[in-house]
């Protein structure tokens, strides 16, 4: 408890589990290859690197597009649009619910119930209503992420000291001015935190929706390759998705600290 790592040993400690997992994989992969030269389950790293190079540089024979980049672009575009919409909805509704007790009384219970519906359970309904195109994917992610964001934002507004609202009003602020000058800037850091936490669920819904109905996308590719047991495609794809998601998380965390330094003054380093 009282022994703390210094920056360097902390870095080493952090990398250790990764190195360990990589080593285990290498050994296991070599073992399986030795027993069965046709093993597909744990392809050696060289084979995966080869596949990645092919996917990332050579155009597909049928579509004449470079598979990895088309998939990535399609998935990221969906994610950006859907998560962006969900964030806007979460912020707008959360702000209004948090500030106006009348609206909270009217819509709060509805949002609480909606957020408890498992989004994947309504996916068939979405497919029936909105068809198999982009719209049902948009709605799925929004349905999965927005209620959480709304509730978290409303809670964040409620967590602001009441004194600040009174003070602002005593300086002549209207409800609207309190909303945009006092409340909105103060919940922005929390919004970015909430979006960071939503990245996981958003990717989950994206890949599920792509797995079921899509003709391009990271999730689509993984589930397509599953049929051929192409672990040499699936494993790099999973790693790639993880890397994308991790970089977004990292970027959002730094955006929050850069844009709202006052919110992180008391943070323990």
């Amino acid at each position: 408890m009282n022994i703390v790592p210094n920056p360097r040993s902390g870095l080493v400690l952090g990398f250790l589990p990764f190195v360990l997992i990589a080593a285990i994989y290498l050994v296991a992969s070599a073992e399986r290859r030795a027993a069965n030269p046709d093993d597909k389950l744990l392809p050696p790293v060289t084979e995966m690197a080869d596949t990645v190079r092919r996917l990332a540089t050579e155009p597909d024979r049928r579509t004449e597009e470079v598979v990895l980049w088309t998939d990535t672009a399609a998935s990221l575009e969906r994610l950006a649009i859907d998560l962006g919409l969900a964030t806007l909805i979460g912020l707008a509704f959360g702000l209004v619910l948090g500030i106006l007790p009348m609206v909270d009384a009217a819509l709060g219970p509805l949002v609480a119930v909606l957020s408890m519906i498992p989004p994947m359970a309504v996916l068939p309904i979405l497919f029936v209503i909105f068809g198999l195109g982009e719209l049902s994917k948009v709605v799925l992610i929004i349905f999965g992420v927005a209620p959480f964001l709304i509730r978290d934002m409303a809670l964040a507004v409620g967590g602001l000291p009441k004194e600040q609202m009174v003070k602002a009003q005593s300086l002549g602020a209207s409800t609207w001015q309190v909303a945009i000058r006092v409340v909105l800037p103060q919940i922005m850091p929390r919004l970015l935190e909430a979006v960071r936490l939503s990245l996981g669920p958003a990717f989950l819904f994206l890949i599920s929706a792509e797995a079921i109905a899509a003709d391009v996308g990271l999730g689509y590719r993984i589930f397509l390759m599953r049929r051929y047991l192409s672990m040499d495609v699936i494993l790099p794809y999973v790693a790639w998705i993880t890397l994308l998601s991790y970089s977004m998380d990292y970027a959002l965390a730094h955006l929050a600290r850069w844009g709202f330094p006052w919110a992180y003054v008391q943070e323990r380093r």
């Binding site: 600040q164 602002a168 005593s170 001015q177 919110a263």
Partner: protein, 268 residues
């Protein structure tokens, strides 16, 4: 002009009577201090004037007109904590008051009007001694400096009444003495009415021109909420008054209370 009058004001939460029979005439330009034990309704009293709470019975008049039922720029407030906006720098914390006034839609000033407002804000910061810290965030200020900022902010809209809710309660004695030295000349200069709630009796006698004590003189053990707080003392601390009576405490006529208690028993 900023005379405040409360006429037979009662505050009740269900069965619980918090304040009863509050009659008060506050002259324009007075420095009123309100003392009393915890739970005696001092904060409720302040919230009434602030407009954050409404009396169950009675009326509150500001210069003869009914008090608006919500906080407004004619009544400034400094709380013990959370009074300043943590997301704005010191100068912007004051500037925002002018921005609220001038820019209804965006709450932001630009160009010349912004520069003028910044100049006014800087004057206020100078008055409270915060000019060197204008670009810091409140979290980088000490407790005393945060309260100075809160005062500067509250003065920006030139309120008719300045309400102080235990503003120096969380400060160390040295800082508190400095704040006393700051607030009294400010009050004299600006000629506004100040109503200050405090726990500190010395502070109350040192600052105020009039002291009001809130307490619950009657207590019914079977019905603890039956009797609310009343004014038990109302002292003139004005040393310039024709007959200076420093530290003289004059109990209010309690017979009136006894009579009304008897009435209540008969009604019950």
């Amino acid at each position: 002009m900023s005379a405040l009058s409360m006429r037979n004001v009662w505050v009740e939460y269900g069965d619980q009577i918090v304040l009863e029979r509050i009659n008060l005439e506050i002259d324009s330009g007075a420095f009123i201090v309100v003392v009393g034990p915890s739970g005696a309704g001092k904060s409720t009293f302040l919230r009434l004037i602030l407009g954050q709470e409404q009396p169950t019975r009675g009326a509150i008049l500001l210069d003869g007109a009914p008090l608006p039922p919500e906080p407004g720029p004619d009544r400034g407030i400094v709380f013990q904590r959370y009074s300043v906006f943590p997301h704005l720098t010191v100068v912007r914390n004051v500037l925002i008051a002018y921005e609220f006034e001038a820019s209804k839609v965006l709450g932001q000033l630009t160009g010349k009007s912004r520069r003028e407002a910044i100049t006014k804000s800087e004057h206020l910061l100078e008055a409270v001694g915060l000019a060197p810290h204008r670009d810091k965030y409140p979290s980088a200020l000490s407790g005393g400096m945060q309260q100075r900022l809160a005062i500067a902010q509250a003065l920006a809209r030139q309120p008719r009444i300045l309400l102080l809710d235990e503003p120096f309660g969380a400060l160390d004695p040295g800082t508190r003495a400095k704040m006393h030295a700051l607030i009294r000349p400010l009050w004299r200069e600006l000629g506004m009415t100040v109503i200050m709630v405090t726990h500190d009796i010395t502070e109350a006698f040192g600052l105020g021109t009039r002291l009001i004590a809130l307490d619950r003189p009657r207590h019914d053990p079977q019905a603890p909420g039956r009797y609310g707080a009343i004014f038990t003392y109302d002292l003139d601390l004005n040393r310039d008054a024709p007959v200076p009576i420093p530290r003289f405490s004059k109990p209010l006529d309690l017979r009136e209370n006894r009579d009304s208690a008897r009435e209540r028993r008969q009604n019950a």
